[in-house]
């Protein structure tokens, strides 16, 4: 069994490496797929494993995007001047400046988002159930609105970042591997985390928070830490996205509450909430669905997506993994053991 699993993981890793070379035409698509996997897994950390359904995780994506961009620009130029130029002035970045800005920016984005997660979570984690969902949604919407009114960071125009220095196809592969490395790290990270006492404690919070409190688990602390860890990865993903997109603006790209912000939830529900593989499977399925509708139902794609959300939530809430688990429980080690 263990050997089979190892082979499976090895195969996936090999596929991860050759995918951009095997399907060069889909480089950006595959990178986006990894982005979906990252945001889905991190959403599941609080939503599936801890029972806190956030509608505001997109806040970290947008914030990460801005932090990474501002750090990399601020390294070289005055940010206010840079953003006010809006295509007017010419701002050059050397290769070294580009890459150091990118890496420093992306890491800072992760750290900054972790810190904001703790600060915001200190308030929002006092809210339960639907109040938490609406409260976090409000945070994300408010952030988008405020940033779009903040001229120093480009206001509603957003920010334009330098283009990848060098061949554009190499750039595509470069961003693919950036996303893939974050994605693989986050998967390994949660696989380890769910096996610890900490993982068991956040499951306890999900199943019966009042009981967990009565048993003396540091519920608030664990909730904050979990969200901060999720925010770290989402923030980094957001930072990378900013550089990949080159130009982004606050409402439609960075704090895209009703796009990516809701997609991540649908991915997790589609794949199976509270499972290790569910978010990954869900992200792949959702991405396929999205691309098909974008290609064949152009104009109606949004309606189709809304319908997908409704159908998933109403009729298929256990997701793929939940469905498999019901059909084949023995695959997941659920069996009645003979007592001795």
């Amino acid at each position: 069994m263990a050997k089979k699993k190892l082979i499976l993981y090895a195969l996936i890793l090999v596929f991860t490496f050759i995918a951009p070379f095997a399907f060069p035409a889909y480089g950006t698509q595959l990178a986006t797929l990894w982005l979906m996997i990252i945001v889905a897994i991190t959403w599941d950390m609080t939503g599936g494993q801890m029972g806190y359904n956030s509608l505001g995780n997109i806040f970290f994506y947008g914030t990460g995007m801005y932090v990474a961009a501002l750090i990399s620009i601020g390294q070289v130029y005055d940010v206010g001047e840079y953003t006010s130029a809006a295509g007017g002035g010419i701002y050059e970045f050397t290769d070294a400046q580009y890459f150091s800005g990118l890496f420093l920016g992306v890491i800072s984005a992760g750290i900054f988002c972790s810190i904001t997660a703790v600060l915001i979570g200190y308030i929002t984690f006092g809210l339960r159930g639907p109040y938490f969902a609406i409260g976090t949604l409000a945070v994300a919407i408010a952030a988008g609105e405020l940033v779009s009114n903040w001229e120093w960071v480009g206001g509603g125009q957003g920010i334009a970042l330098p283009v990848y220095p060098g061949d554009l196809d190499v750039g595509k592969t470069f961003f693919y591997f950036l996303f893939a490395s974050v994605g693989v790290s986050v998967f390994i990270f949660v696989k380890w985390l769910y096996g610890t006492r900490f993982g068991a404690a956040i499951n306890a919070i999900r199943d019966d928070e009042e009981k967990a409190e009565a048993m003396g688990i540091h519920t608030l602390r664990y909730k904050l830490i979990t969200w901060a860890m999720a925010a770290f990865f989402v923030g980094m993903a957001g930072g990378i996205s900013g550089f990949q997109l080159i130009h982004f603006e606050p409402l439609e790209t960075a704090y895209q509450t009703i796009n990516l912000g809701i997609f991540m939830v649908v991915c997790v529900l589609l794949g199976g909430k509270g499972t290790l593989w569910g978010p990954v499977v869900g992200a792949i399925l959702f991405h396929l669905f999205k691309e098909v509708t974008w290609t064949y139902f152009l104009g109606w794609q949004w309606v189709a997506l809304g319908a997908l959300i409704v159908v998933t939530v109403v009729y298929f809430q256990d997701g793929v993994m939940g469905w498999v688990m019901r059909k084949r429980p023995e695959w997941f080690g659920i069996r009645v053991e003979e007592s001795k």
Partner: protein, 303 residues
Amino acid sequence: MDQILSNLSMLVDFPIVNLKILIDGIMIGAIFVLVAYGLALVWGVMNVKNLAQGDFVISGGYVSWWLVQQGFPALLGVPVAFVVMWGVGWVAYKLVISRVIERDMFTSLLATFGLAIMMAQILNLMFGSDTQSVDLGYDTLFFADGLIDVPIAKLIGVLMATVLAASVIWFMKTSRMGQAIRATAQDARAARVMGIDTEKVYAFTFSLNSAICGAAGAIIVMVWLIQPFYGIAYAIRAFVIVTAAGLGNLPGVIAAGLGIGALEQFGAHIFGIGYQQAIAVVLLLIVLIIRLIQQKRNRQVLK
């Protein structure tokens, strides 16, 4: 910052402007009360937190706008929107809502969010993304040397909102269906044991909510603007009001609705119109934090 300060000082120098903003705020607040009352109804009776609330409003607005384009008088829009949105609400209930009532609350929240996206996009495909409004062609009344302007259309809108709210409340208090709805809200199982067809009550409640929203939208289009994606802001305002007032607190909903209308107008005046949406959301956060502190004092959480 300077802009904000000068806006503030204008309010201090010309007290009459405060009155104008207050009147504007209370007028839009009357609409918020309608939408929030519908939300509180659905929330209290069937424990569904409807994020599509605002899109019912906007759909109602488009029904009325479309009628006017066909040459019908604008005032007809309100009853027609009421009836049409009743039907839309009933369909939405049968297809989606009836299947999420028994589930956890996040399910209903997400399902209605999906519904909201669908409705907004369908409106966008049908009518385009421009802002629309209907001109009633009435005059504007001026008070205080022209500093306070009250369009008659606005007065009619507020009057209609009041009549609608009063008749719904009267209906809830006196009719058999109203009694059944209130009984179901208190204890659905007990109501079922006593022979109330709760399924029918749920369908009726949700349709009624949708119809109220539709009528509110028809009023909005006569006085203010609508656009396919304006819905979510109305949904959020309704949440602010219901959260601030608490469930089953009708005077509270009215007070909170009017208050939030006024706060939003003042906020938009001080910070600029670009912040209007942000103000609605920040108000929600403030209300949540206040409720949280209250609950903490009771050694409880907000759930």
